[in-house]
């Protein structure tokens, strides 16, 4: 097999190497139960990264996801008692709407998504701060258990969180590879002008892609809120950059059209393995961030496929 053929598998190879490397230094890392727990812990991040994949896959980016998730944690906490499980509908609807508005601003008003979503994030943050009264709220424990307790159980050793993530991954994967919508996303990402010249409804597709990323951000926020049993306008902070990193390390480049949700799975795992490896390998807490950055550069340098990049900006 030539290097050319191997390229799509670089992220997998990177992941495998990392896992084996860490396992070699500290075999307890490879203990299945701890691995499962490790993966289950990052489900909200993974879901956010899944949503981000849609935005990046069409060549855009969604910087509002973190704030959408923040907003959703507040909404979920505030309205849980009132609406019970149906608060989920409200949350997801809000995420979808914010994403769709971002998409509309991007496609119809010609504002680059980097700016449009950043600005929509500010607006969502504004909403979250208003709704929360600038306080950290906690959920009504009874209502939480009644409505969303099922999210965090275990069935046959499989945490439910993981099952949810798997389900969402399956849905996203199906959307991406098996539907006309997914095909259209790819066309828009790889060659928007050709998609227009083939008569695709490009604007609608792009708006939907951003709406999807907003939806996934909302799901991530909801899970986060239930998990931590509370809501706060800053609860999900720090997740945005990690989600972007997960997508990029997985091999979906910012230029769009390449990669996809499976890549994001690998990318998220790479990020998590790097992070947790430092704990397993007893890396000094103060050094972790720096080492994470350096490994990230190496991982990106190894992972990204440069063959379609004419100019690297």
């Amino acid at each position: 097999m030539s290097v050319e053929k191997l390229k799509p598998y670089f992220p997998w190879i990177t992941l495998t190497m990392l896992v084996l490397l860490v396992g070699a230094f500290n075999p307890s890392f490879l203990n299945p139960a701890s691995l499962v727990q490790l993966v289950a812990d990052i489900v909200p991040l993974f879901i956010m990264a899944l949503g981000m994949t849609f935005a990046i896959y069409i060549g855009g980016i969604d910087l509002s996801m973190q704030q959408v998730a923040n907003l959703v944690t507040v909404v979920a906490t505030v309205y849980l008692v009132q609406y019970g499980i149906f608060v989920a509908v409200l949350c997801i609807g809000a995420g979808f709407a914010i994403g769709a508005i971002s998409g509309w601003i991007t496609t119809r008003q010609f504002v680059p998504s980097f700016v449009a979503t950043l600005a929509m994030g500010f607006i969502a943050l504004s909403g979250a701060r208003f709704l929360s009264g600038e306080r950290a709220l906690s959920m009504n424990a009874e209502a939480r258990d009644a409505s969303f307790g099922w999210m965090f159980g275990n069935t046959a050793g499989v945490p439910h969180e993981l099952a949810i993530a798997g389900l969402l991954l399956a849905v996203a994967w199906f959307l991406q590879t098996r539907t006309t919508f997914g095909r259209a996303l790819k066309a828009v990402g790889a060659g928007e002008l050709a998609a227009v010249a083939s008569g695709l409804k490009v604007d609608r597709i792009k708006i939907l892609a951003f709406a999807l990323s907003g939806t996934f951000a909302a799901i991530a926020g909801l899970m986060f809120s239930v998990k931590l049993s509370g809501g706060d306008a800053n609860l999900a902070n720090g997740f945005l950059i990690l989600a972007i990193v997960a997508v990029l390390v997985g091999g979906t480049p910012l230029t769009g059209g390449v990669g996809g949700v499976i890549n994001t799975l690998v990318g998220t795992l790479i990020v998590v393995v790097i992070r947790s490896a430092m704990v397993y390998l007893d890396v000094d807490a103060t050094k972790q961030q720096m080492i994470f950055g350096i490994i990230l550069i190496v991982a990106i340098a190894m992972t990204i496929d440069r063959s379609k990049m004419r100019i690297v900006k």
Binding site: L63, V111, P112, S113, V115, A119, G127, L254, K287, F292
Partner: protein, 332 residues
């Protein structure tokens, strides 16, 4: 993130008017905002209040100017938070080690911090250009490295700088404005000088305006890119120094929040993310818009949360206003 097609016929009456409008729109927004707040609350116009705005804005202005150069090249630099932290911490250590007062050899800590900024920027540029990693990812990762490095250096502690002479940046006032505002002003002029009077500054525009064409003209684009990130690093360092001067503390968190703040300011000022247009004056106006909104909201007694929303809406409006739709085929 945007593809532009050159407009076929420039120079018609309408497009001149439009060009003029686009050029001055950010300044107009700033003036309207100031007028609005002044009408709502006359105290907004006081020197004290303006000094408050400018003190808060000075470090951000330096960081935003740094990233302006990179954005003009059509790249992006997201490493500022890390770089600012490292420069702040490096300065603090060096300063204290050399005596802890500007009246001694410790003044060398100032150029040292700028050197650190330059080195970080240089490395950032090298990673981007030599490893052929898009600047978005390269600089993002460098940002992690920077924040991490600052963490390693401080071990999570805060370092206090109590030298009265250094703190005079904040405490010493001329005409009602503290020294740091003037320092920021001087570096703004330096940036303007770089932008208009040096080959490097002009080459930023050439790279942003048409990279392949610049290469075809024999321009060493990679060199320009690396130098662009280096210059950005120096300005991040100046931002770090002013940030330390402002609060008297250097820590890992010194760089927090600079990333989206500075990029928002650059965009609101009318510098396009796809490169080639805009400049340091745009960035000045953009930074002022952001900080005037923040300050004005507080002064007229609106709750803080409104501020984010208004800023968000304004960012969108600013970009819509400054985009010539006819020349763009699609945007991502």
């Amino acid at each position: 993130m945007a593809k532009t097609l050159t407009a076929d016929k420039a120079g018609t009456g309408f497009s001149i008017r439009r060009e003029t409008l686009v050029k001055w729109a950010p300044l107009l927004v700033l003036i309207v905002l100031c007028a609005f707040f002044a009408v709502m609350e006359p105290r907004f116009l006081s020197t004290r209040n303006f000094a408050r705005i400018l003190i808060a804005a000075s470090p951000a202005l330096m960081v935003a100017i740094g990233v302006t150069f990179v954005i003009i090249m059509g790249s992006i630099d997201l490493s500022m938070e890390g770089t600012v932290s490292v420069c702040a911490v490096a300065f603090a250590f060096c300063f204290l080690w050399l005596g802890g007062t500007l009246a001694s050899w410790a003044w060398l800590a100032l150029p040292f911090a700028m050197l650190v900024g330059a080195v970080l920027g240089f490395v950032n540029g090298l990673i981007h250009v030599k490893l052929r990693i898009p600047s978005f990812m390269a600089s993002l990762a460098m940002g992690f490295v920077g924040t991490g490095l600052a963490m390693v250096m401080t071990g999570g502690d805060r370092i206090r700088i109590e030298d009265a002479l250094f703190r005079s940046l904040l405490t010493e006032r001329i005409l009602g404005f503290p020294l740091m505002v003037y320092v920021a002003g001087v570096f703004l002029l330096v940036a303007w000088f770089i932008q208009t009077r040096t080959t490097l500054g002009r080459n930023f525009y050439a790279v942003g305006g048409g990279e392949d064409l610049a290469i075809a003209s024999g321009l060493n684009v990679n060199r320009v890119r690396v130098l662009g990130f280096t210059v950005a690093g120096v300005f991040f360092a100046v931002g770090a120094l002013l940030a330390v001067g402002r609060i008297g503390i250097a820590e890992t968190a010194t760089g927090n929040n600079f990333m989206f703040l500075s990029i928002t300011a650059v965009v609101v000022g009318g510098t396009a993310l796809w490169g080639g247009v805009g400049g340091v004056w745009n960035t000045l106006v953009g930074v002022l818009i952001v900080f005037v909104i923040g300050n004005g909201m507080v002064v007229i007694g609106l709750p803080g949360y409104v501020q984010d929303g208004v800023l968000g809406i304004l960012v969108i409006l600013a970009v819509i206003l400054s985009t010539d739709r006819k020349s763009i085929s699609f945007v991502k």
